[in-house]
């Protein structure tokens, strides 16, 4: 005689939990183990760039049988998207974005060693990102921080593009006719734009956030110490002076840097790359030819903030497929179309490529060879933030950079009216506090 087993509360809950978790486990298992699939999250979502991706991906699938699934979360959301995918246990194979952002992944041991690709693709030494003795980034392109000015207005006032700090102040003052026109833009908000301006101007004045302690073999905060402190205060005071010839800019970010210039409310602006010029071309062609690049003025050095973008391959994913794809992408004939998606903005990692006729064979570049020559003239002077304070990769830059602490410093000085001395002290303390918190 068989006995019927009743469904107990425990067996019901166990079965339900099992049923709920099974697809999750299966999906997680499928990722990374599927050798015929690569998930690629890209920051670049320009329609022309997307068309190139589609072409290369179709060819790649035809040649290798590996399907590439693209995601375009955009500049503002890519870090969140990557974090979500990792937290869900389904890391993508490839992420294309700034190496500075990717450093966050490297620090959590999420990036695989790509030394073989770096060697094969002959990546210049100054663009490598090395963590725990291994390359973690395959650079494709870079962007420099530099200024844009109305050449016609400079000519009218018989002025040259500024070279030093005093020049810049003189130019900004001469071109200001507030509130109709401002001579410069000094964004003073807790935004990326404000942060990058101060970080670049710190570089121009040789200000370091950290010093390498050779004995302890680690970085220590030095912003509020010795000459650094003096120079940091000097830089903040200088930007406060310059701010008098700028819109208040207490809520400015990247969009406002471009729109204020395009709307002819500012005679000079600045940007990371040539997207500002693209916007001028698209929205106010009248001032396009008069818009000329200039190096943000130097005080003690010619360095500037260098943003390097590239491919980053995640551990625990289909690493082999991803590496195959990156190599295929970099050697594909359509790659040049990708560089031309936003001409002069996406600058090739290789100077040879920049100088090649293949790269220069583009109507926008042909029309603005002066911009290309400018880029060539400042080539090699940029430094990525994570190597600014020393030869070792600085793992702490995220503690001030991600949170736009430099933007806070500018806002505290220019909007709240705090003394530069107090601003520097508080900023250094904030970084120390975060280091303690991070353990």
């Amino acid at each position: 005689m068989t006995q019927r087993r009743g469904i107990t509360r425990r067996s019901f809950v166990t079965a339900a939990a099992g049923a709920a978790l099974a697809p999750q486990i299966l999906v997680r298992g499928a990722y990374g183990q599927d050798k015929n699939r690569v998930v690629f999250v890209s920051e670049e979502s320009n329609p022309k760039a997307i068309a190139v991706y589609e072409k290369i991906n179709a060819d790649f699938e035809k040649d290798t049988g590996i399907k590439v699934t693209m995601e375009y979360p955009g500049f503002a959301n890519i870090a969140k998207r990557v974090a979500t995918l990792i937290a869900a246990g389904t890391p993508p194979e490839i992420v294309w974005y700034g190496a500075g952002q990717a450093m966050n992944l490297a620090l959590e041991n999420q990036l695989t060693d790509v030394g073989d690709l770096v060697k094969a693709l002959k990546v210049p030494d100054n663009q490598r990102m090395i963590f725990k003795g291994a390359d973690r980034s395959i650079p494709t392109s870079q962007q420099f921080v530099y200024g844009w000015a109305r050449g016609d207005l400079l000519k009218e006032k018989k002025l040259d593009a500024p070279k030093g700090w005093d020049d810049y102040l003189k130019v900004a003052k001469a071109l200001t006719d507030a509130p109709k026109m401002y001579g410069c833009i000094v964004p003073s908000a807790e935004t990326g734009a404000s942060t990058l301006l101060l970080e670049t101007m710190f570089m121009k004045n040789n200000v370091h956030w950290f010093d390498w302690n050779a004995g302890k073999k680690e970085y220590e905060v030095s912003l509020d110490k010795g000459d650094n402190r003096k120079r940091a205060i000097e830089t903040l005071d200088y930007l406060n002076e310059l701010h008098k010839f700028s819109p208040e800019a207490s809520n400015y970010n990247w969009g406002e840097l471009m729109s204020t210039y395009v709307a002819e409310k500012a005679a000079t602006s600045w940007y990371v790359g040539a997207r500002l010029l693209e916007q001028v071309n698209a929205n106010n062609a009248r001032i396009a030819d008069a818009t000329v690049p200039f190096e943000l003025p130097r005080k003690l050095t010619d360095h500037y903030y260098l943003s390097i973008q590239g491919f980053h391959i995640l551990e625990k994913s289909n690493v082999e497929g991803a590496k195959k794809y990156v190599r295929y992408f970099m050697e594909h004939p359509s790659l040049i179309g990708w560089y031309h998606a936003v001409p002069l903005h996406i600058i090739p990692a290789s100077r040879d490529m920049l100088r090649s006729s293949k790269y220069q064979d583009n109507p926008v570049i042909q029309k603005r060879m002066d911009v290309l020559k400018f880029i060539d003239s400042v080539w090699g002077k940029g430094v990525p933030l994570y190597y600014w304070d020393g030869k070792e990769l600085n793992p702490y830059i995220g503690l001030y950079h991600n949170e736009n602490l430099a933007g806070w410093m500018l806002a505290a000085r220019n909007i709240k009216g705090m003394k530069s001395d107090a601003v520097v002290t508080e900023a250094a303390e904030q970084v120390r506090k975060k280091m303690r918190r991070a353990g």
Partner: protein, 297 residues
Amino acid sequence: VSQRAEQRWWIAGTTAPAVLFLALVAYLPILYAVGLSFAKKTAFSPVTTFSGLRNYRLIFEEPDLWNAVWRSVVFTVGAVAVQLVLGLVAALLLNQAFRGQTFVRSIFVLPYLLPTIVVALVFQWLLNQEYGVLNQILMQVGLLARPINFLGGLDTAMWSVIATSGWQYGSFATLLILARLQAINPKLYEAARVSGAGPLRCFWDVTLPQLRTTLVLVALLRGIWMFNKFDTIWLMTHGGPLKATETLPIYAYRLAFEDFDFGMAAAVCSVMFLLLVAGAVVYFKVFDPSREVEVGR
């Protein structure tokens, strides 16, 4: 099977899907967030480590949390007050008989139907320092010599987001108050008038007491929603300038997606949750909604 047992099964069976759905979409995420608040969890690692009360200790040590609580209170009280005043005035006007009443009423509801992104962009444009319509008008009529930085000013940003939220959600209050106004027994007004009450006295002694329940309800609902408000503030000011509009949800968001510290962000969210629960308990104790509804009938 007894009828009672059958009835029990019937109740359990019909409510089970809703309870299960609620558990999945509401309680489970709350439990997960509370659990996460006791863990060290960064955004770029799948590893979660138990850290006890560390996150709570860290956030309570920071003045940022208390400042954000204070700003949340200011924003909530300000926005709800604007919504109630706007809603009451609009409802009183719309309760009058006039030609085109239906059309005007539908116009008043419009702001509530607009997506927040649209409202935020429109107000950003209206309040912009360089090319904003409001500054332009104020300068043209000679009230201003220089434009005001409404959204970027330390003293003006909070008022700007309060005004925007007040405008957008005032129509929600209008709807509820208008519905209640139409349900007030006209005999109460007749009795008041017979006793010699003028329009102001009628409003004070008849309309307001009759609206009490609705006003309290609107204040509670809007209060909870405003305390949790993220989108309008984020879209208009990103919590700036210099944290002048950084309320608790913005603070939590920054911890999660700028500091990439999910554990601390979860701790802030848990504190927010507790504050709201405490608010709800006080509400139920002080106002006793069931009694309020009885009175309102």
